[in-house]
């Protein structure tokens, strides 16, 4: 069943455009959910590939977030560091349906099982 695979994390209106909010997952890594100015949503592990900066606190421009600690630019789409920096943060599949946000359940909890 499709529905069962998706975790409903609430209405889209919870996240202002151009910002992100956090979703702690007990026993594993916190997730940052982004809403771009263009109205797209993305979910990534809330950890910069450089030195684990909380990406949720960075400035969002286009589909990029600038890490608040040392200004690495991270693509929200791929999780990859842009420019000369190298590294990648895991992304979590996200979908919007009828005004609500859903994250792929398995991507949210796999790390919990591994841990």
């Amino acid at each position: 069943m499709m529905i069962g695979n998706w975790l409903d994390i609430g209405p889209v209106t919870q996240i202002e455009p151009g910002t992100a909010r956090t979703l702690p997952v007990l026993g594993c890594e916190e997730i940052a959910v982004f809403h771009t100015m263009r109205g797209e949503f993305f979910a990534l592990r809330n950890q910069c590939p450089h030195k684990q900066g909380p990406l949720s606190q960075g400035i969002v421009h286009g589909d990029v977030v600038t890490c608040p600690l040392h200004n690495w630019n991270i693509s929200l789409r791929s999780g990859k560091a842009l420019g000369d920096d190298e590294g990648c943060v895991p992304t979590i599949p996200l979908k919007v349906d009828a005004g609500r946000l859903y994250l792929l359940r398995s991507a949210v909890v796999t790390r919990a099982e591994a841990a």
Binding site: L7, D8, I9, G10, T13, Q14, I15, E16, P17, G18, T19, R21, T22, L23, P24, V25, L26, G27, C28, V33, M37, R38, G39, E40, K51, Q52, G53, P54, Q57, G58, I59, V60, H61, G62, D63, V64, T66, P68, L69, N71, N73, S75, R77, S78, K80, R105, S106, V108, V109, A112, E113
Partner: protein
Amino acid sequence: MNAPVNFERAGLPGNGRERLVVIGNGMAGCRAVEEILARDPLRFDVTIFGAEPRVNYNRIMLSPVLAGEKTFDEIVINTPEWYEDNGITLVSGDKVVSIDRETQSVIAASGRVEPYDRLLIATGSDPFIIPVPGKDLDGVVTFRDLDDVDRMLAAADRGGSAVVIGGGLLGLEAAHGLNLRGMKVTVIHLMPTLMERQLDEAAGYLLRSELERRGQTILTGANTKEILGEGGRVAGVRLEDGTEIACDIVVMAVGIRPATALAREAGLEVERGIMVDDHMVTSDPAVLAVGECVQHRGTCYGLVAPLWEMCRALADHATGAPTGYEGSVTSTKLKVSGIDLFSAGDFSGGEGCEDIVMRDAARGAYKRVIVKENRLIGAVLYGDTADGSWYFDLMKKGEDIAPIREALIFGQAFASGGALADPNAAVAALSDDAEICGCNGVSKGTVVKAIQGGACSLDTVRSTCKASASCGSCTGLVESLLALTLGGEVQSGPKTLCKCTSFTHDDVRRLILEKELKLIPQVMQELHWTTPDGCSSCRPALNYYLLCAWPGEYEDDQKSRFVNERMHANIQKDGTYSVVPRMWGGLTNPRELRAIADVVEKYDAPMVKVTGGQRLDIFGIRKEDLPAVWADLNAAGMISGHAYGKSLRTVKTCVGSEWCRFGTQDSTGLGVKIEHMTWGSWMPHKFKIAVSGCPRNCAEATIKDFGVICVDSGYELHVGGNGGIKVRATDFLCKVSTEEEAMDMCAAFTQLYREEAHYLERTAPWIERVGLQYVKDRLAEAGAVERYAARFRYSQQFMQDDPWARRAAGEDAKLHQHLAEVRPFPTAPKPQLENA
């Protein structure tokens, strides 16, 4: 789903034709029938059921009907004669209520039962109604069919005001029509940008300004909470933030849902839409579906262009020569007279995508094309849509645009003209009297002469002949002329603010004032930003420049703030924050110390440290706890210490004349007074002040941005010091004899720095760049100190509002709270969600 169907079945009617029943007398249903007839007019006996009591008309033209630009008769597609001439039975005004796939028949509301050999579902979409209280009140209408238009026209006849919920294509066309019909219209849109699915922020801003100019009220980021009624009729709308808008009619235009109920109940495979294959066949081979009600390769469409292609594939298949439909690239045009807007393809950007942006502020035009792997994949045009179809064509054909890439944004005329494909060549081809700079009326000949006369950089061209010195939209042309005239000898100009613009910090600051630019998207449009919404360098800079230019008017943009300024605390490497409460002049008392000690214990702060600025820094506070920590500190009378900001940090003092045997003047008291005057002011960079009571300088005033050294005969004022990476001792500015003069000079110097330095430039590099003499001269002009000081104090009225108190009271709570918390059980992997 792809199994071929055998149409040669038994039990056909007397004439030997198959019975084709169509549900939906709309654009797709009728088009499909037309396509079939064109291929094989004798194959089917056709019966069409339509819920609407009329013939098929061009639904997209309902907008011009509403606006009074067309009549219903003008938009009819299939007249009654068409049905008759083609032997089609039209059952209009009778809705099909169920499909019986066992007996292969449909049942209508009237009780009519119609057997079929082939069924075509073309039920279109239903308008989505947001489930708010009051949605069923009289006067809440949708915008889908002629009856809706009639309802709106009846309301418009009575006059009054309308609220349109939804700022997408449909909502804006409804708003436009009602506005032309004399109603006062307010558009409520949930997202920050109008038509956000078709437009980016920049084009949305232009559209919004134009609609506002026409008298509509546009509320973006507005969430409808309730529709208010009076005696069963609509009386107004209440938003989530409490705003109420009185109105006589509410048009709900928030989106559409494929009309799938019939198909779902009949047991056909349905996801968002009715699932069809490339031949428009559903999960039942005898049932076809077409139009907005279907889902093809994962996509549901809401525009007509895909219908035509679907209908072609459907007819090919139904008449035995299957070809297949592979999905459509769509484009959108807004049908509001006088507004030219075009959008097509994918413009959300992404991996490997590159934006090419061109803005022409003088003409209010904006163009953006998105290129990926040398293919054009999206375009947004506002103001000048002449090239829309050309871009759309390039996109659909997937043509390699590498050879014309440089000139692509200039449009077809430039790009496809062989030699003209090189923008420099295009400029070279212009005649000498062709106008280059519209703002200053400078011709090509004049620019070339200026360049030949020695102007070898953009800047010198600007200062010699004024070309590109105003709005800057011709910068590209001037650069081409420089390249053409000088070959490789063009000098690169001064550093631009960031890679999103060709303007320098000084240009941007000057133009914000000259053109009275008061919003970030407005600056980006007027100054031709080359990115849709800037970057992490220019957003904070623009936010500061606007804040400084328009105190009290400009609303601080939190999302353009660096984390520390947004959170009013300093982020640490583990993601927690440190908190520094203000202690005026470095003085404190038992009550404050006790409150700090309590906070440290209550929130388990692992470290407290005395800072270089004579404050106490509490480490390890989590973002969720910040508002509570601040509330506790506020309760003891302490406010934000701004240790996190590009702002006044601290005023450091020494022990002072009350205790120190060397002290002169009331230096500590002066420090406290200066801190009361300057706290809370946003600056280009952090700003530190110190006041020492004697030249022994215990407060280290000579490595501060502004330092005061008290002597017996008065106050020596020093500026531009820095104790950071590159230590710089202050320059001596002047000596004054009273405390008032010292305070005024401090305010004036601070304001000069606030108004003229570049963002992220401390006073030390600023003074080295402009020269101490310049600063002295500016402040020595007649009345200058009073003027600057007055501007500083005016601005301070709006800045001295403790951000901690506001947050503690619940403002911007979302910045501190988690979205929710996921608690997966260790055994079952099914996560539970707890709302925070």
